[in-house]
């Protein structure tokens, strides 16, 4: 590896690496350690900081609001896996056929929402869902489906689905492009052979494209889980977790506790909880999916 290379002195190494490493330690490693520390205190930001041991964690385990938020994260994640990756998969399969026209246009346009900020997506959909001026209700009225008009973001029964739609919508293009990239690496002969053997579109998709994309689909599911465990911006803008707590997610709950109620100790405990739960779910799903193929 270092054959014939200029071998710098260790102070050169330190000179180059010190700043980036310290920077990273300061904004990532230190806060992580501090989160563990604060999670053991009862503290509202003032000078009084009371050590309470693990009792914040005991509270967290019994905190039904936190588990409700976690459940909402899981629901959103499942909806997104089915919605985003499902739709993206069908589109990617269509992209390999000659049936679909304007492929370049579709790809460019469907990807567009990916580059916009979550806050903007949240605002756009708040406007779309709006009772009076929303384009959704306008469309429903225009096509004679007035009976379907709902207070989309104010009905606790449906709000979790209403907030999932923008999330799904924003990232279909992202998974589409990932799947298309890996389809492009599949040799064309495979598709041609299938055509000669008389496989129609549906069979081709199930028996050829699906298995070939298995690994990429797994990566996509992991990305989807990791992304949706930390969903915050969309929810903050659209509902703030409401009405009531019906669309509360973990990050919003941590935010409310820490910065609205100023329970910085307990907020840190929630943060550690999010970290542990996210990593656990990612590892668990990795194990489950890994097991299937072997």
């Amino acid at each position: 590896m270092e054959r014939g290379l200029f071998k710098p002195k260790s102070r050169v190494f330190i000179g180059y690496l010190a700043l980036p490493v310290l920077w990273y330690v300061f904004v990532v490693v230190m806060p992580l350690i501090l989160a563990l520390k604060y999670s053991l205190y009862d503290w509202s930001g003032g000078p009084r900081m009371r050590f309470v041991g693990l009792s914040n964690y005991a509270e967290l385990i019994k905190d039904t609001d936190f588990w409700l938020s976690f459940k909402n994260n899981v629901i959103i994640t499942l909806l997104c896996i089915v919605g985003q990756i499902g739709i993206a998969f069908v589109l990617a399969a269509l992209m390999t056929t000659r049936v679909l026209k304007f492929k370049e246009f579709h790809r460019t346009v469907i990807f567009l929402p990916v580059v916009l900020s979550a806050v903007v997506i949240g605002f756009i959909w708040t406007l779309i869902y709006n009772q009076q001026i929303g384009i959704l209700n306008w469309v429903l009225r225009a096509i004679g489906l007035e009976s379907l008009i709902k207070p989309w973001l104010d009905d606790p029964k449906i709000v979790i689905y209403s907030v999932s739609v923008p999330l799904i919508w924003q990232y279909i293009g992202f998974y589409l492009v990932i799947l298309m990239a890996s389809l492009q690496s599949i040799p064309k002969e495979i598709f041609e052979a299938a055509e000669i053997d008389g496989a129609d579109g549906f069979k081709r998709t199930i028996y050829i494209i699906l298995p070939l994309l298995a690994d990429t689909l797994k990566v996509s599911v992991m990305l989807c889980i990791a992304g949706n465990m930390k969903v915050f911006d969309h929810i903050y803008v659209m509902t703030g977790g409401g009405p009531g707590k019906s669309s509360m997610v973990m990050a919003q709950y941590a935010y409310n506790n820490s910065f609205i109620m100023f329970k910085l100790g307990y907020g840190s405990t929630i943060s550690v909880g999010i970290l542990v739960l996210s990593l656990a779910i990612i590892l668990l799903s990795r194990k489950l999916m890994g097991g299937k193929t072997q």
């Binding site: 590896m1 180059y16 230190m30 992580l32 989160a35 990807f111 900020s117 406007l127 384009i135 465990m229």
Partner: protein, 279 residues
């Protein structure tokens, strides 16, 4: 024409229509937002879907005058540009050392940086707020640059390291024989070779800095330092909601991103996917 062929024609038509509908649903809300921002509030309330009869920039003038969107815009721009430059510089240097040398502590540092990709940022929000508060780093012009650079590093280092690994050693050997110092080799010889991966890192980190919300929400309090995403939320809570004005404000926030995307869409798509799949 046989019945089978007619049926498959109809099938193809339906499929195309569906995909077209999906595509249009992705741009229509954005197009609607932009043209509605050119209407007056009255005209918009009369018919929310119609095109503006007399396009006016009044909403934009108000968005700048009363909602100070131009300040947020400048703050976003400043934070993004500085963060991106630092991320590129740091990740290039660190990536180079990781790719080329086995030094004491290399594996430890490598793992430490990579682990950063797994940490959900909300786990860092509260302690970083406290850390910054204690050190007096809240609400400064450099405040947001600190987390943006730190959090952008893991992915960028990873991409750089992967790229530099594949550059032939002979290039540096030749430079060494010619008497080039490490610094010269790094910045005069290796850096230009890394252009493609640098553009990926630039795309990834500028989008994430421009769009970032959580840290900006928590670490910045004064209006003069807020970035666009937080400025927008400010906008809708502080003033009685004037929809067309809000739309103008949103347009100001997204227009640069959309323009860049329309010009460089292939690069942007490639960059984002490279970041996600390799990471």
């Amino acid at each position: 024409m046989t019945l089978k062929r007619i049926l498959s024609r109809i099938g193809a038509l339906i499929i195309n229509a569906f995909v077209m509908l999906l595509s249009l649903s992705c741009i229509f809300p954005i197009v609607w937002l932009i043209y509605s921002s050119l209407k007056t509030e009255k005209e918009f309330a009369l018919n929310i879907a119609a095109l503006p009869a007399h396009p006016t920039f009044e909403n934009y003038i108000n968005a700048i005058k009363t909602a100070k969107m131009h300040i947020y815009f400048f703050n976003s721009l400043f934070t993004t540009v500085v963060s991106v430059i630092l991320i590129v510089l740091f990740s290039f240097v660190v990536g180079y050392f990781f790719a080329r040398y086995r030094f004491a502590g290399r594996n430890f540092l490598y793992t430490m940086f990579l682990a950063g990709m797994l940490i959900p940022i909300h786990a860092l929000l509260v302690p970083m707020f406290v850390e910054f508060k204690v050190l007096g780093l809240l609400d400064k012009r450099i405040t947001l640059i600190l987390p943006y650079v730190g959090l952008g590093l893991p992915m960028a280092i990873f991409l750089m390291e992967n790229f530099i690994k594949d550059i032939p050693h002979e290039i540096e050997e030749a430079a060494y024989i010619d008497g080039a110092t490490l610094t010269t080799t790094l910045f005069r010889i290796i850096l230009p070779i890394c252009k493609p991966i640098i553009s990926t890192v630039v795309i990834l980190s500028s989008l994430s800095s421009w769009n970032e919300f959580s840290f900006a929400l928590v670490l910045i309090k004064s209006d003069a330092l807020k970035t666009l995403p937080v400025g927008l939320t400010n906008f809708s809570s502080q003033y009685t909601v004037k929809y067309t004005q809000l739309m103008a404000a949103i347009t100001i926030a997204i227009l640069p991103v959309i323009v860049v995307y329309l010009i460089f869409n292939k690069r942007v798509i490639q960059g984002l996917v490279a970041g996600a799949v390799k990471g």
